[in-house]
Amino acid sequence: MATGPGHGDGGVPDGGLVARLVDATFGKGDQGLDEVKAEVRSTMGDAALVDCVTVISAFHMANRLTNATGSPIDPFMVEATKVTAAVLGANEFLSRVDAST
């Protein structure tokens, strides 16, 4: 669910829908943004839509800050990163080069 469709909700309430919302805000996925937003509003409510977009926006900032400065992985995340990076396909990212695990 974190990287693509077909994984249900992954134990997260409305997780599949939230994932489709993220994709749609990036112009990805099979649905248009307006369609997904309408589904989020009717399923989870207006506040949830706004809160999801609020968090998505945070990562538009944070991802730029780290990718544009070569931020290395924090020591407390190194082991966890080794486990998850392969699952997420993150080892293929250009930003992996300077992440220094």
Binding site: M1, A2, T3, G10, G11, V12, P13, G15, V18, A19, V22, D23, T25, F26, K28, L33, D34, K37, M44, G45, D46, A47, L49, V50, D51, C52, V53, T54, V55, I56, S57, A58, F59, H60, M61, A62, N63, R64, L65, T66, N67, A68, T69, S71, P72, I73, D74, P75, F76, A85, L88, G89, A90, F93, L94, S95, V97, D98, A99, S100
Partner: protein, 241 residues
Amino acid sequence: MTQASVYETELPIRAAVREAHSALVEHWSSAGTWWSAVERLAIVNEVRTALDADELPPWVAPSTVDGLVAADHVLPVAVVDIIWRITNHVSSLTRDWYDSLVPDQVSPEQYVEVLSLVSQANLVDRFADSLSLDRPALAEPRPGEPSRTRPDGAGLARHWVPTAPIQDTHWSPDMPMEAPNVRRTLTLVPAEAKMMWMLTDAHYISGGILTEDFSSQKWSIQRPHFELIATRASSLNECFY
């Protein structure tokens, strides 16, 4: 600009977000540390231009495309290219790209302030665009000169850019570990680091309390939603960190 008027909508936008975006509009129209108010507003405007433009491949600098960048642009050509690259191709940023620009075309300090403004504008405008809201109107530039102050102890450590010791206790003293590297990215320009922490508080986790369930902060979504969004968005931006 009042907090209420930064967005005209019935959608339940959190007060902290309205406050933060209203503060940013003022921040952008003020002289910064290394760029004037006019230049800072030009940076934000250029982010909007880049967001709305037809797609260019990451290896094509807008300054090389006929008619795309005005000859009398307020900003140096290199800065315009930086803005477009960070805005539209965040996954393509490399050390070689950075070294091609810094320090020969922009100083590290100038780069960090540009990066901050570009990141802030991407946060705000993508928030507005995603909710089908008008982007916040920009204010008129305020008088004043850049302060041109460099923090004590700044130097190259873990990042491509020089960083400085974190000067305030914004990172929660309850956290057992030192502040994460993302919070160090803008410390070369403390005024920008301060805005980044304000935005992180409003848009994500207040004070870096990663262990909370966030219920005390009155979100309508739960911690697992945060983690799902963080992973999915960062994966789409190809952010390994």
